[in-house]
Symmetry: C2
């Protein structure tokens, strides 16, 4: 029920996913009347592969996670996560309130053995390929041990969904200081260098969108600010382009001719094209869709969930964490 | 002597500055032969307003700040900062190694009374105006007291160079957590709210390039990563545009017609257009030019130095720090 468009985006996305993947069965959780009306409008009946599960409440974007946990036990978000816990679903996809989703998922599913805190991970586009980055804001302060766990989780996810045997892992840092970075980053670097992860060293902020490393690890405070800064720059550029291309008849004509190319540029950086952030480190698969996702990009989030089910990402993280820790010690 | 272009950029910039500002006198510090040859090539003689000061060494981009301090006491950078200390110059502008410049400036000039650490501050372009942001990487870990001092420094600078009486000051934070941000950010917010600064609360990464607040404060680790991320996104977009506009004859033609508008867009985000970062909190004015500065953008850095001399920024910081601290306690 969440996101800017609610069922107008999620229902068409669900139907598209079912057409695309005959092995997929979906449970639509939310206001039963609204969802059934949406299905009728699309001319699709409920059935074995498509079930509506009514939930009487809804998490709003301004709801505080702690209050959602206490007071919204029949919200669509809570019910969807509960379905994983009960073994009735293998993954949950939501476009709603990120903080609430993380709190519910953490509370209901718990973290995997050996993982102290879950983290948010997403793929980002880059000049030479894309990069998985985590944590993007699940935590505000992370110890070097937690950052090391994030590195394992990011590496396992990337290895699983991209079929890369040994994804390269880098640590986000700054380059100005003599002995680069703060103590936590340096301690994490030592842990990574001593592990069997394919650790390649430090990268700086301008490497994120280069796409030369597979996984970039940072704490959630830094990751969230980097990601939002990137969104802000992209938005500013679009706004500047709009202003510059409407200055004269000549620029308006140029804009018209450039529209396909400009649209392609925009698409390559559009967060909706890379939709589907993973809440990693939980005993279950939870995918957060961007709130502004339309049906096509919500479909991307469903596909991410399906892929993580197929690759059994949570179990792989469990297994490999102990393997990597073994070599680190 | 520093930066990617050395005297090829700095000498023409110096001459342009002298033509533009009849009150300006400049000392060019560096390899005397090289500098004098550059002046001869431009047909300009040395004189009262334009002096060459020879320095036998040069700081390289890979030099470690601590080694520069010990072993490069006759480098152009060190000599230029020494001139301020000796009262022979009122400001220093350099396009060289940022870490070395900060180390030399800190060591030679010392911080102002009440300022624990200097910070790097620059103006950034935004949709609705520009924003001064600090610290951009002088420090990797800052206490809430230091962040408060940064806020005062940023506010004083903005007030002085933009003639704004009460610049708005915001704190960079993330939005996902229930009780937003980490402890340091929250403690800083309390200090700011209790001061007479025009504190307007938290902003997120995507607000940096909105340009709705005058000053954004963050620690140097976060600030450096945000700034470099922005540069990376802009570079990726330029690369994507290059690829998309060369796909076909049609897009090549569109690109040709769009060139003026695209160039204008790029110019509005180009760091060289906002060249001249201030090393704030020192007993003297030191301006860091972007390493890739050409003559026009190095001129911008000289103009920043001139403006800070005119407005007496270091003394203002001293005065106002005690005033703001007075109200905070």
């Amino acid at each position: 029920m969440g996101g800017d468009f609610g069922p107008r985006a999620t229902v068409p996305a669900a139907l598209a996913a079912m057409r695309k993947y005959p092995d997929l069965a979906l449970i639509l959780v939310g206001d039963g009347d609204v969802l059934r009306r949406a299905l009728v409008a699309q001319g699709v009946p409920e059935g074995e592969r498509l079930v509506v599960r009514h939930a009487s409440q809804q998490v709003e974007m301004h709801d505080l996670p702690s209050q959602v946990l206490r007071k919204k036990k029949d919200s669509s978000m809570r019910v969807a996560v509960d379905l994983i816990k009960e073994g009735l679903a293998q993954a949950c996809v939501s476009a709603g309130n990120t903080g609430a989703l993380m709190a519910i998922a953490h509370f209901v599913l718990k973290t995997l053995p050996g993982i102290d805190r879950p983290a948010i991970c997403t793929a980002l586009p880059g000049v030479h390929g894309h990069t998985h980055m985590l944590d993007l804001g699940a935590n505000v302060d992370s110890s070097s041990e937690e950052l090391f766990q994030f590195a394992v989780m990011g590496s396992v996810l990337t290895s699983a969904v991209e079929n890369k045997e040994r994804p390269t892992v880098a640590l986000l840092n700054i380059g100005e200081e003599e002995i680069k970075g703060n103590d936590r980053v340096k301690q994490t670097a030592a842990l990574l260098a001593g592990s069997s992860l394919n650790y390649v060293g430090y990268v700086e902020g301008d490497d994120i969108f280069e796409g030369r490393v597979d996984v970039i690890v940072c704490d959630g405070f830094v990751g969230n600010i980097a990601l939002k800064t990137a969104e802000g720059v992209a938005r500013a550029l679009v706004q500047f382009a709009r202003e510059e291309f409407t200055r004269s008849t000549f620029t308006r004509m140029a804009a018209l001719l450039s529209r396909p190319a400009l649209r392609a540029v925009r698409k390559r950086l559009d967060p909706r094209e890379y939709n589907g952030a993973s809440l990693l480190g939980l005993r279950g698969i939870v995918i957060k869709s961007h709130g502004s996702a339309d049906d096509l990009s919500f479909l991307r989030a469903i596909e991410e969930a399906r892929l993580e089910i197929e690759k059994n990402v949570p179990e792989r993280i469990s297994q490999q964490l102990s393997a990597y820790l073994g070599t680190a010690q």
